[in-house]
């Protein structure tokens, strides 16, 4: 068997993505497991007790891609992975729209689970995206969630 090279794909885009198509990119030699995370726009802001009309995401072009790439490279160092895809949408989104896709493939399922979980935790704390929610006549920049910093603790070894 020739071991094919690893897949790394990073996309920042306005358009929606198709999960079936994206995970098929990850079906390749030596892969048995694909774990993916999809984040979706909530319909309700619990903190401010408001029904969300829409959400807008902005980012820092150039830095975003570099930070995500660093996280992916770190995940390949930590686990035996065959491929990683990260797609993050920007612009205006509605409740139940897909925001982010993180797909990780591996020969063994636990590596795929851990790699995907790791990338999401780091993306949440390092990738330069900011979002605001729109209520009826309000615009509210979402504030950083301290639990996202705590989530990183499990990757310290």
């Amino acid at each position: 068997m020739n071991k094919s090279s690893s897949i790394i794909k990073i996309k920042i885009q306005n358009e929606d993505f198709d999960v079936s198509e994206e995970i098929k990119v990850l079906y390749q030699n030596n892969t048995g497991a694909v774990v993916n995370f999809v984040g979706i726009v909530r319909d309700y802001d619990e903190k401010n007790k408001q029904i969300i009309n829409s959400m807008t995401l902005e980012h820092y072009p150039g830095m975003t891609e570099t930070e995500i790439e660093k996280i992916i490279i770190e995940s390949f160092d930590r686990w035996e992975l065959t491929g990683v895809t990260v797609i993050h949408r920007i612009g205006n989104l509605k409740p139940f729209d897909q925001i982010v896709f993180v797909g990780v493939s591996s020969k063994h399922r636990q590596n795929a689970f851990d790699g995907c979980n790791f990338i999401m935790d780091w993306l949440k704390t390092k990738a330069p995206f900011w979002k605001f929610e729109e209520y009826n006549n309000q615009k509210n920049w979402v504030s950083f969630n301290e639990s996202d910093n705590q989530a990183l603790e499990k990757w310290k070894n």
């Binding site: 995401l57 925001i99 704390t125 504030s143």
Partner: protein, 83 residues
Amino acid sequence: MVIKYFSWIKEHLGKSEEHIVLPNHITNVDQLIDYLNQMDKKYHLILKKKEIIKVAVNKTYSSFDANISNDDEIAFFPPVTGG
């Protein structure tokens, strides 16, 4: 030098980006913030929220005492909230 602002910092300052010529005596990010504050007190926000505001030099996370030069791109932004 290019300075970029994101999220509510951008909205507070009313601009996402500005180009300045860095005076010779300004050699790190902290000094840059002081310098900006002397020009316009709107920049006080960056000092006031310094505990949470992040800085990037040339698209890489940096500390406030990082050395900077006129060729650098500096960015100030709040903690990230993507995903």
